[in-house]
Symmetry: C2
Subunit: 409 residues, 2 copies
């Protein structure tokens, strides 16, 4: 018997709930379902690249015998499925960071890694360093642990270590700068890549402040032009002598190279840090779905290099279409970034234009969606910026959508 | 180049890290892999019951077309896969709680639900009420949010509301009693079930303290004898008039009825609470693996009642074998619970016997594993208790293992 006029009851929430807001991106996923909207919103991989038949084969293989079924559908250790942590360690080693499975913990995508690192490192009032703008999902994950944010700018130059320290301790008694978060390759939201000098500058600051760098490499496999820079972790391991002596915590994911729906990523770090993260994984959700780890292991072992090659070609064409369409349709007072990889370009609108208000008009009048820039700014600025993702729409939709959007500007 | 004599570097961790310890159960999962050990340790379902072929079919179906693959392997909304939240809402309604999909959020097993509720409700120093003993995974999840624990005893009688309130506010400035955690059916670790009177008493206390009850129903489908009591949520909804007016937050899981390896559970609560939990899901790991939600939806729709019936018969035989073996082999100064369902019996050893030391001897000398009781006690007591799970070993192993264990006592 439901009486819909009964008064709703709500508990007293934790203090942190004041810091937890809905993500504009996640709300926008719902707009995607509206027919007729061309979406430049979510950082969503193109499902045309998903390995449907190979994944189906891998699921069937995982369930082929009672013995393998007994592993695939059972609980498991929190560290991750052994063959997968071994594969990831070999992959990290091939990319310049000599790692063993004890340096790896498997997570439910990189988003869970961000949550775990907030949980591991942040006491309320502590300072997290990040660029302005930065990935809004990272801000969401960290904000649950009630940090203060401060801005680094490794490309143009950071403030002095002393100035970061003083600002941190002034904000709360005993509060410290706890980590520096970076997306060095084809960053979300700007598409920008940090130069080698900027990587070294970020690393120097982390040494001076004696803090870890969280290196989020979500898009790094998807380079279209130019040449790879070494990861910040590889630079630090070279300098420190070993991964166990390094202060860089590297986040990898299969979401952009294989598919996001299996929810599998990893953290590569010193064994001491990984041991702590395994405890957090235990307490948070025990372990990542074993069958999904088995399937990702099989897909990665057999197909990842050809999948990455195909993804680079596919998204490169879309990036080209986006830059072509912006040049063709946008008025002169609007500028944008030219990403060498990844999913995003970042537009600077005239000062008077508010990205959130533009979105409302864009959805209604131009049938186009994107993400307003403000959510990527931990200081509340950025209202005249917008993020455009070219990963999901077709080349025809990119041209049509940008043309329609330009009519509003 | 790894130089293994480089000094390891560690960051300054969050204050909460002092509260996060390794679970004895999770460590024991590693013992399971040692050949020749009979394990009464983990609360592990018997893989003989896993629906291997039906799951394989469901995975193949989810990946049968490009369109379904594009859903199965993509990101999704944080609430959960629509057809699954609808199925769960109908199931809850059939069990006495009139629910809609807006009352449901899908989680990565019940463990993640426990983590989310700690995150939602606990400011450091707040009080969580729990029975003594209680599920150690819940203590692990909550402890990351630095609570104080206090003890309720709904079966024998609670303290006065005023006494709980005073103890909470004495522990830290502004600290409050925030929730009451209960496993009413075939509890982990005791196997005990709360009587109807005890359920009403717990509910009365939660009303007097104006706090939610977290009702963890992990084992409730697995009743062997006797008859079901109504869930505490059903009792509260009847009294409050609707789920939105109720203060009970119900945790369900498919881990014990279908399989744990897909990592799928749910929370059923008022829409206001569910909306908050969806934000937490977003920030924590975006969404549960869509393909696993599709597979669980297909398995639950087609097979759950026959699977539950089979599981009841299967585990009932094992429970009977366990009680028979305990009666046959254990000395008179040892007592145990007689569960009407679930996976566990709970032994009281003589005062002088330490369960943790007994475990060391049991693994070495008797080739038997179990979980020492102390980890289930938030006050550090319980060293002469042990938890025996009969879910995984065969009937022959149960008899042999208990016989071997008894030689040490």
């Amino acid at each position: 018997m439901a009486h819909h006029d009964d008064p709703a009851w709500e508990p007293a929430y934790a203090r942190r709930s004041e810091c937890m807001k809905a993500s504009e991106i996640r709300e926008l996923l719902k707009i995607l379902e509206k027919p007729g909207i061309i979406s430049f919103a979510g950082g969503i991989p193109d499902p045309k690249l998903f390995p449907g038949p190979a994944a189906a084969k891998a699921y069937v293989d995982a369930l082929a015998t009672p013995k393998s079924t007994g592993v695939a559908l059972q609980y498991s250790v929190s560290e991750g499925y052994g063959p997968l942590t071994e594969w990831v360690a070999r992959r990290m080693t091939a990319h310049g960071v000599s790692a063993t499975p004890e340096n790896i913990v498997i997570t439910s995508g990189s988003q869970q890694a961000l949550d775990f690192l907030g949980k591991l490192l942040l006491t309320p009032g502590d300072t997290a360093l990040a660029t302005l703008p930065t990935y809004l999902g990272a801000l969401q994950a960290f904000s649950a642990y009630e940090p203060r944010y401060d801005t680094i700018n490794p490309e143009r130059g950071n403030r002095t270590p002393q100035s970061y320290r003083e600002a941190a301790s002034a904000s709360a008694p005993g509060a410290k700068v706890k980590f520096c978060y970076l997306v060095p390759d084809f960053a979300n939201p700007t598409g920008d890549t940090l130069s080698l000098d900027a990587r070294r500058r970020a690393l120097a600051l982390s040494h001076e402040l004696d803090i870890p760098i969280i290196e989020d490499s979500a898009y790094s496999a998807l380079r279209f032009d130019g040449s790879d820079e070494p990861s910040i972790q590889a630079l630090d391991v070279e300098q420190a002598g070993s991964l166990d002596a390094s202060r860089v915590i590297y986040l990898g994911t299969f979401s952009k190279t294989i598919a996001p729906g299996l929810r599998i990523g990893w953290i590569c770090a010193s064994r001491a840090i990984v041991q702590r993260l395994v405890l957090i994984k235990q307490a948070s959700d025990l372990n990542v779905s074993v069958i999904n780890q088995m399937v990702i292991h099989q897909l990665a072992s057999n197909h990842i290099d050809s999948m990455i090659a195909a993804a680079r070609l596919h998204y490169r064409k879309k990036r080209d279409a986006m830059l072509r369409a912006l040049s063709a349709h946008m008025p002169r007072n609007i500028t944008w970034t030219r990403p060498e990889g990844g999913f995003f370009t970042w537009l600077k609108l005239p000062e008077r234009v508010d990205g959130a208000k533009l979105l409302e008009r864009a959805v209604d009048e131009a049938k186009v969606a994107f993400v307003p820039g403000k959510a990527f700014h931990h200081d509340g600025s950025g209202s005249n910026r917008i993020r455009l993702s070219y990963s999901l729409p077709t080349i025809e939709e990119i041209d049509a959508g940008i043309s329609q959007l330009a009519t509003l500007l």
